[in-house]
Structures are given as structure tokens and as C-alpha cells.
């Protein structure tokens, strides 16, 4: 049961429906554990590795040649801010994974710079996830994960790995970077799954 903090009124109640504990921001704050990697598109590749070790790889030019989608989605960061109606362009994971042969249930997104995050493979499919390379009509900046990041907006934003370099498929759920440091393994903002055990 929550206790009332006397004298705290808060600001105007948000008109928008936000997940519990979130507040609305108009900025686009940055959250990362270390320095921002700079990855030239000339040497950029994206690799899907299956549980049998088979690799499927795309260069930057090959990624851009794939059919892309423009999507408008809400972002929810575990540090409490939410940003609504952001517009991205990128290639759906459905397209990248269409010809990949796998029986895996889990995926680990891997990034340039060494970041990892885990999620069920099902959460990357059915129009729920993209490899995004443009934000509000501009090339995605390095600060926000460019040249390309994973975008999985139905989970807290740390699952949307910046500077993504690939997806590794596996039979087992292997905790990624924040997940080994006490953050929730799944991270559904609507169920407020911030930390382990939430």
C-alpha cells in the first residue's frame, strides 16, 4: 500500500495513458553504460547466428536494399521517462529472419562495443521489432544507437540494443548485460518489470 507524501502535489495529471511509474518527456534522453561506439557504415554488418552456428550476414548496403517500414511508436525507458509517437524507419525482423532456419526460443541481441540483451524470439517477430536506421526522418545518430539499433518498443528501451551487430539464437535464455546486473529478464513496461523479481 502506498503512503501519501504530505505536500507533494505533482504536476498536471498526464492526459496520455502511460505505463505505471513513467512520466512524459519531450526530450530524447540517452542511457548507456559506457562511451558511445562510432561504427562506420563501410565496415558495418548485421549477423544472425542460429543455435547450430549457421550465420546469415548483411552489409549496410544489403540492409538498405531490403524493404523497410516507417513506424510510429511509444518509447518507455526503465529510468522512468516515456516519449510518445516517435517515428522510425527500418527493416522488420520478420524480413531478416524469414529464411533463417531455427528451432530456438530465445535471442540475444549483440552490439558493437560489447553490449548484449536477451529476449524471447517471439518478441522479435510479428511486426514487433525492427533494425532501425532512421529517426524522425534523419539518419540515426551514434548517441541514439546509430548507424542502426534494434527497436522493440513494447519492452523497456534497454532491450532495443543500440549499435546492434547481430542476433544470436539459442535454446536457452541467457541474461544480457543489464539482465545480469539486476534488471528484469523480460522488461514489460505495462507490468512494470524493471528489476529482477518484479
Amino acid at each position: 500500500m502506498s503512503i501519501v507524501t504530505p505536500g507533494f502535489h505533482g504536476r498536471g495529471r498526464p492526459a496520455a495513458d502511460l505505463p505505471p511509474g513513467q512520466y512524459l518527456t519531450e526530450d530524447f534522453p540517452v542511457l548507456s553504460a559506457g562511451p558511445t561506439p562510432r561504427v562506420p557504415t563501410g565496415s558495418w554488418t548485421f549477423t544472425v547466428t542460429t543455435e547450430t552456428g549457421r550465420e546469415y550476414r548483411w552489409t549496410w548496403a544489403e540492409l538498405l536494399a531490403l524493404p523497410a517500414e516507417t513506424v510510429t511508436v511509444d518509447l518507455h525507458c526503465v529510468t522512468k521517462w516515456s516519449k510518445l509517437r516517435t517515428t522510425w524507419r527500418g527493416v522488420p525482423l520478420d524480413t531478416l529472419l524469414a529464411d533463417v532456419e531455427t528451432a530456438a526460443d530465445f535471442a540475444v541481441a549483440e552490439s558493437y562495443g560489447g553490449y548484449t540483451t536477451n529476449l524471447p524470439l517471439a518478441d522479435l517477430l510479428d511486426g514487433q521489432a525492427w533494425i532501425a536506421y532512421s529517426y524522425e526522418g534523419e539518419d540515426l545518430t551514434a548517441e541514439h544507437g546509430g548507424p542502426a539499433r534494434l527497436l522493440v518498443p513494447h519492452l523497456y528501451l534497454w532491450k532495443s540494443a543500440k549499435w546492434v551487430s547481430g542476433i544470436r539464437l539459442s535454446h536457452d535464455d541467457e541474461p544480457g548485460f543489464w539482465e545480469t546486473l539486476g534488471y528484469h529478464e523480460y522488461g514489460d513496461p505495462w507490468r512494470e518489470q524493471r528489476y529482477q523479481g518484479d
Binding site: S2, I3, T5, D27, P29, V30, G34, P37, G113
Partner: protein, 246 residues
């Protein structure tokens, strides 16, 4: 995370014991939190404030010092027009309750058994978790050499002057002012640049642990400088407090 059952981080009721002005716009606040589990330097808590109509707001705040049994200390910078910080700095009275959960964050931490030299780079209120590391070092009797490079607007905006100004055995503190400097100060006001980090940091070949905390733009700039100076990006840990300020 191996084995064991996962327990949810509980919300606890924290009661304000004492609030002291740290600067004209910041307040250091000590809370009593029954059954506080303890924490590492660099970790933070989530505060949850509930208004009478049930409306709630949550924000994160760094722990400023090692826990003193059931007492934790935070320092809050007032953000003009902010929803939560002006309440904490200006309105909240000793005896008032707020909910807290934590400690949170297992990456941006310094452990007293670590032996590598440490470089701390703070922008504004970003000094809070870094001061916790200096205090934890002292509490543990660690002799690991520390350097703190602290960017702040003016001398009056410095936090923890009493703690940081004195001669500190094995901790070098350098201030870099961005707006106004004391009389006769050798460095003109300005943002931290590569020369500051090169002069007052550690050489990359000593493989120091680097902790950078402050507003996003500050952290981005300093982390880029450290990488350019040859520091291993995996040894540069960052915590970004918010969009601007500092």
C-alpha cells in the same frame, strides 16, 4: 544471478531525518529506512511520491555515502520547473515519509577490494555517486589512488566542500569551473576539454577504472575524450542524469 530465488525489490517507507542546504539550489537529505539492506558506492534508489489523490511520480537518485545502518543520504539538485526535485529541496520536512526502493544498479559501482587506480569525472550533481566512492574508499581504509575532476558552474555550486577540499590522503581533487572562477584561478572558465582530462586524469597505460557522471552532454563529451586518450572503452563506466544542467 545464478541460483536462488529472485526476490522483488521491496518499496520501503523512508522518513526524512534531516535536510541541509548543500548549495543555494541543492539539499543533502538523510532518510531513515528500516531494514535497509546496504549498498555499494555508485548505486541509486528509486523514490516514489504519492499525492493525496493517489497520483504518483518516481525518480532515481544516487546514494551519496555508504549506508550508516538504517540511514541513507541523497543530494538533490533543484531542477527549475521540475515535478519532483523542487518538492524534495524546498517542501519536504523532517518526519515526512516517501517510498524508496533499492539499491539499484550493479554496473556503475566501485568495490573497495578493487586495486586499479580510479578516475572520477563529475559534472554538476553528477558528483553525488562519485563522492560516495570516495567516502567508501575512506570507510574501507583503501589506499587505491583516486583522482576526481569536478566540473561545476562556480565555486558556490560545489557540493561537499568540507569533505573534498581538505587534504585527502590519496585522493586528488581538481575543480574545473564553467562560469566563474575564484580570484587568481589559473584556468579560465570553460567546459572540460581534452587538456583537463589529460593533465588531471590517469595515463591510459595505468588502466584506471573511469567513472563519468553528469548531464548527458557532459558524459558524452568526457567519455569520447577518454576513448580518444586511449582508455579502454570497457573500463569507462557512465551514468547519465538527465538532459541538461550541471
Amino acid at each position: 544471478m545464478a541460483g536462488g530465488t529472485v526476490r522483488r525489490l521491496a518499496w520501503r517507507v523512508a522518513t526524512l531525518v534531516d535536510g541541509t542546504p548543500e548549495t543555494a539550489s541543492a539539499r543533502t537529505m538523510t532518510f531513515h529506512v528500516p531494514d535497509w539492506p546496504g549498498h555499494l558506492a555508485g548505486q541509486h534508489v528509486d523514490l516514489r511520491l504519492t499525492a493525496e489523490d493517489g497520483y504518483q511520480a518516481q525518480r532515481s537518485y544516487s546514494l551519496a555515502a555508504p549506508a550508516d545502518a538504517d540511514r541513507i543520504t541523497l543530494t538533490i539538485q533543484r531542477v527549475p520547473d521540475g515535478e519532483v526535485s523542487p518538492y524534495l529541496t524546498d517542501t519536504m520536512k523532517p518526519g515526512d515519509p516517501v517510498e524508496v526502493r533499492g539499491p539499484v544498479g550493479g554496473w556503475f559501482v566501485w568495490r573497495p577490494d578493487s586495486t586499479a587506480p580510479v578516475l572520477l569525472v563529475a559534472g554538476g550533481s553528477g558528483v553525488v555517486p562519485l563522492a560516495a566512492m570516495i567516502r567508501a574508499r575512506r570507510a574501507a581504509g583503501s589506499r587505491v589512488p583516486f583522482r576526481l575532476l569536478y566540473s561545476v558552474r562556480t565555486p558556490a555550486d560545489r557540493y561537499y566542500s568540507a569533505d573534498l577540499a581538505g587534504p585527502l590522503d590519496g585522493v586528488d581533487v581538481t575543480y574545473a569551473y564553467t562560469r566563474a572562477v575564484p580570484d587568481g584561478w589559473p584556468r579560465p572558465p570553460g567546459r572540460i576539454g581534452v587538456a583537463d582530462v589529460n593533465t588531471h586524469g590517469w595515463p591510459a597505460d595505468l588502466a584506471p577504472e573511469c567513472f563519468v557522471c553528469g548531464p548527458t552532454g557532459f558524459v558524452e563529451a568526457v567519455a569520447d575524450i577518454l576513448v580518444a586518450l586511449g582508455h579502454d572503452p570497457r573500463r569507462i563506466k557512465t551514468e547519465r542524469f538527465g538532459p541538461t544542467g550541471g
